[in-house]
């Protein structure tokens, strides 16, 4: 039982940093750019993607053995499209303003590469519980990224966050951020920051390993007086 939980956690957590969907795996960029004018829109889009991704991974990992491999992509697309229609109808019923704001990008969840990508790369090769963990992790990573990008653009573009003013009275909105050019530039800068951060973390990790290795070598060397623990401190 613990083994299973551990494996599920591994699949879940990789979507949060190591394979963070829109920033690491540069896939499914259209909704990322289009609906992140505000943090709320990003969150709404992210939640619909979690819904579709989890259910599609669940379904596909259950039925993939029944599908001939030659027609699998088409079958996956049909399953995903059915789920997207369900999301469309649910949103029309319960979140109509959000449905209108997201506009054409709700039906376009069908062609979001992340969903088909996870179906093909993960769900069709792994058991059900791992597929669901993978979908939840990826979906959560996607949602957080979208909300983050949306918050960034909303704060600078409108001076609000989730619709509340947060920048003070004399803040001049930076309209560039909420238009198309701002989306591209913002995403580009975030990707570059991620790259720089990864390089920095790797460097630190390798430095640490290097230090540890050196210490080990020093400890094993038969130097006179290398046994520092027993060496008496000299009186000053």
């Amino acid at each position: 039982m613990r083994e299973i939980a551990k494996m599920m956690w591994k699949e879940f957590s990789k979507g949060l940093w190591k394979d963070l969907p829109p920033f690491r795996l540069v896939l499914g960029l259209c909704p990322v750019l289009a609906v992140t004018k505000t943090a709320g829109n990003g969150l709404g889009m992210g939640c619909s993607v979690i819904f579709v991704l989890t259910l599609s991974n669940l379904t596909i990992s259950m039925v993939h053995k029944l599908i001939p491999s030659k027609v699998r992509i088409v079958c996956f697309i049909v399953i995903i499209a059915t789920l997207v229609v369900a999301v469309e109808l649910l949103m029309q019923a319960f979140a109509y303003p959000l449905y209108q704001r997201l506009g054409i990008f709700v039906p376009l969840i069908v062609v979001n590469c992340i969903i088909l990508g996870r179906a093909e790369a993960f769900a069709s090769r792994n058991p059900v519980h791992l597929s669901v963990a993978d979908a939840l992790g990826m979906g959560l990573g996607f949602t957080l990224s979208l909300t983050f990008l949306g918050a960034l653009r909303e704060i600078f573009g409108y001076g609000t966050l989730f619709g509340r003013h947060c920048m003070g009275a004399d803040f001049q909105p930076f309209a560039f951020m909420v238009e198309a050019p701002g989306a591209f530039v913002c995403l580009g800068i975030i990707l570059a920051t991620m790259n720089a951060l990864t390089v920095w973390i790797d460097k630190r990790a390798s430095l640490k390993i290097e230090k540890k290795r050196r210490r080990q070598i020093l400890n094993t060397l038969p130097l006179p007086g290398a046994d520092t623990s027993k060496r008496k401190r000299l009186p000053q």
Binding site: V26, C30, T82, V110, G188, A192
Partner: protein, 194 residues
């Protein structure tokens, strides 16, 4: 006639499918590393977009609306596109091999290109007539081709320059796309079609 002129201008410059409507970004960034692939991908998109829009328009009007099944639009459209892409691939391979050699490798990628589905859905949401839809699809495809070719030509020149390490690859392409988008943004002042 004047209307169609405006429709074409709107679709190519003012509401460019990639730079203003954020559709088809994955192939936009993925296939813009060299001029050759950019031209091939752009041509394939124009070709498939026009055919897909024609077929989906007829289906929507005479099957889905007639049977009151508009809510399955998404499923039907994506299936039509997936089938069409396979069919076009086989057809080109048999009948027009030179064209297949040029577009062949890009065709499978097009199924999950949101520009194609996007164009088909936009035509329905804006209630375009049949001819309008075809012209819109062709012009949008042309807009995609234009944006892709411009980005590819910039990226080819970028190869020889010094880009900061963190920006290499996709980040710098996104910043470039942002600058292009800023340039296309200037067309917004010209007004637009509907």
């Amino acid at each position: 006639m004047n209307d169609y002129y405006l429709l074409v201008l709107t679709a190519i410059f003012i509401n460019n499918i990639v730079l203003a409507q954020y559709l088809g970004n994955c192939p936009f960034l993925g296939t813009s590393k060299s001029m050759e692939t950019a031209i091939g991908m752009g041509a394939a998109v124009i070709f498939v977009a026009v055919m897909a829009t024609a077929i989906t328009w007829v289906l929507q009007k005479y099957v889905l609306v007639a049977l009151e099944l508009e809510f399955v639009q998404t499923i039907v459209f994506i299936l039509v596109i997936a089938t069409l892409v396979q069919f076009v691939e086989l057809f080109l391979k048999k009948i027009v091999p030179p064209l297949y050699d040029a577009l062949g490798i890009f065709l499978p990628l097009i199924t999950t290109n949101c520009a194609i589905l996007g164009i088909a859905v936009i035509c329905q949401r804006n209630d375009y007539e049949f001819l309008e839809s075809i012209v819109f699809a062709a012009a949008s495809g042309l807009g995609f081709w234009l944006a892709l070719v411009i980005l590819a030509s910039i990226r080819e020149r970028l190869e020889t320059t010094h880009v900061p390490r963190a920006f290499r690859g996709t980040p710098i392409a996104l910043v470039l796309a942002g600058l292009m988008s800023l340039a296309f943004f200037a067309f917004k002042g010209m007004g637009s079609y509907r």
